[in-house]
Amino acid sequence: MVIETKRLLTTSKAISEGIAQEMERDPNVFVMGEDIGTYGGIFGATEGLLAKFGPERVMDTPISETAFIGAAVGAAISGMRPIAELMFVDFFGVCMDQIYNHMAKIHYESGGNVKVPVVVTTAIGGGYGDGAQHSQTLYGTFAHLPGMKIVVPSTPYDAKGLMISAIRDDNPVVYMFHKGIMGLGWMTPNPRATGHVPEEPYTIPIGKADVKREGRDLTIVTISLMVHRALDAAEELAKEGIEAEVLDLRSLVPLDREAIVASVQKTHRLLVVDEDYHSFGMSGEVITTVIEGAFDHLDAPPVRLTYPDVPIPYSRPLEQFCLPSSDKIAAAARQLMGR
């Protein structure tokens, strides 16, 4: 008898494994950032890399984001494939010029002659009381600016495949991992943050959404940790006879508009769940995509459940009031179904 056991990893280990395998394959890949060496990354995305590859390829940096992210841009132009970690996405304010005026624009400005294969990794998301400067998601802000691919995984399996694709991509990629999907021992336990990850390297195409749960009654379009919340809600809804389809976008740039339209053509109802701010962001873009591509298929106006347009409050009851949750998702779905 052969017993097949699945290899389980946390998302943080899946990411560091993907990086390690690419570093073994390609000597041009190296990693820079604050506390990514000895510490292994504050969120574990580079754990074990220093011991394996040494300080020449796993470089702890000063607190100088403009300098080291700019250095990643320069090194990429000169033939390397750097990965630079911005510890919290909220810190983008101190280095955004290098990101959006340089990393994102040089390929275009050069008329396609200069490639900038940088991966910027960064932690996103709140829900654990870290206040207004350490809890934002901000993927909508980055996605608004042309020239960068924006990858936002939700599972260990996707995280590894998308990381390998990001490193091999000839374009700048901003790879945004939610702290709540990493499977960290010091965060609130999340069973969905551990999952099957094959040992061998594999890629997942950037720009392809993934149906995480099939359903006929409504489509929940979401991303990152909210995929987990939507799956929890879908399980509750199924007990009431509502079958929700959960579409995980996995990347915002490119946005898989075809997958969004195809799902809504099937279910005729759309709920967008977004941990990013309400206005001018992902939820508006997804709804517009459906209005443009599947308007005649809609049985009800689209609904969005998002973070209100306020800075993230610290106090627990205030933060929980603002955050989408599985209960709020289920309630919004029932409302959309007229229940």
Partner: protein, 327 residues
């Protein structure tokens, strides 16, 4: 040399701040054991405590008035308390309560207090430019108030450090820049991150005085700050002070500190600046042993009262999250 009253006041400040930080540490782990969950317990989120760094705050703040502006970092409690922030409202903010300084909206890294003109930021070095602005406003208003910006040695490699020093120097503003060098930027040691040994030397690049205080001594800090503060107050422009201080706890609570040796951690406890200062005051007869014990007892009561106030205060209404985005 500070007079006897000042020495005794500084001793009490050091003691109450140390007890506050130790007590917040205990409170922080309520509801987080046996399994640590950063989101759980009485106080969620990251918690950066300043035990060991009290002398820097106390030595500088002894020269300040409440109308002087102070900007601090993600590790702000010692500076806030030394500058006169109400301990109860600070504790309540840390607990996320309605009675907190920001009604629970800010949290421990985002404390704002008009009564003491205090602000802080969770983004490294980003309190420095606002200090320049406070000093600019005071000059435009014809006041002799000054601004003091506290930051860590890790911040001295950020653009905002260099831009702020240059701007304050070129406009000759009354800013005292105080670098708390605790040798560690989370896990990255200063010598792996900073090209020179002493950030105070960087003052030369901006044509302003730079002073190094080589140990964590409240009196030495007091002396260095006194000169810088009076220079700023009389319109003599900015100064940079660097103090070699100690971070007795982790970067944040729950930090296993695998990057530090047990010997280093033991040495830090051994050379605890508050106990050393207290011994010296007793030896010099500035303080009796009984006075010292009385200070610890009095501080215990003050801290316990503040924690009780925070604990018994109500949470804000959840929907209050939507208020205060705009004036």
């Amino acid at each position: 040399m500070p007079d006897n009253k000042t020495l005794r006041d500084m001793h009490y400040q050091l003691v109450r701040i140390r007890l506050f930080e130790e007590t917040i540490q205990k409170v922080y782990f309520e509801g987080k054991t046996p399994a640590f969950d950063i989101a759980a317990g009485t106080v969620p989120g990251e918690m950066h405590l300043a035990a060991g760094q009290e002398p820097v705050a106390v030595g500088v703040a002894a020269h300040l008035r409440p109308s002087d502006a102070v900007t601090a970092t993600h590790r702000p409690h010692h500076i806030a308390l030394a500058h006169g922030m109400d301990m109860k409202r600070l504790a309540a903010e840390i607990f996320g309560k309605e009675t907190g300084l920001g009604h629970g909206k800010g949290g421990h890294m985002h404390l704002f207090d008009p009564a003491t003109n205090f602000g802080c930021s969770g983004i490294i070095a980003e309190g420095m430019p606002t200090a320049v602005g406070h000093a600019l406003a005071f000059r435009k208003q014809g006041k002799d108030d000054i601004a003091v910006s506290f930051f860590g040695e890790g911040a001295a490699n950020q653009g905002a450090f260099h831009e702020s020093l240059n701007l304050a120097a070129v406009w000759q503003l009354g800013v005292v820049f105080v670098c708390e060098d605790n040798a560690w930027a989370i896990s990255v040691p200063k010598d792996k991150a900073t090209a020179i040994a002493n950030n105070s030397d960087r003052a030369a690049a901006y044509g302003i005085p730079g002073v190094l205080v080589p140990d964590n001594d409240p009196v030495a800090i007091y002396e260095a700050a006194g000169e810088a503060v009076s220079r700023a107050r009389r319109g003599g422009g900015p100064s940079l002070i660097e103090v070699k201080t100690d971070r007795l706890f982790g970067h944040f609570e729950g930090d296993a500190q695998a990057y530090r040796t047990p010997e280093e951690l033991a040495l830090l406890q051994e050379r605890d600046a508050i106990r050393a200062f207290e011994r010296r005051l007793i030896e010099s007869a500035d303080l009796t042993a009984k006075d010292a014990q009385d200070a610890w007892d009095r501080a215990r009561t003050e801290v316990d009262d503040a924690i009780d106030f925070a604990r018994s205060s109500p949470y804000p209404e959840p929907s209050a999250a939507l208020q205060h985005v705009f004036a």
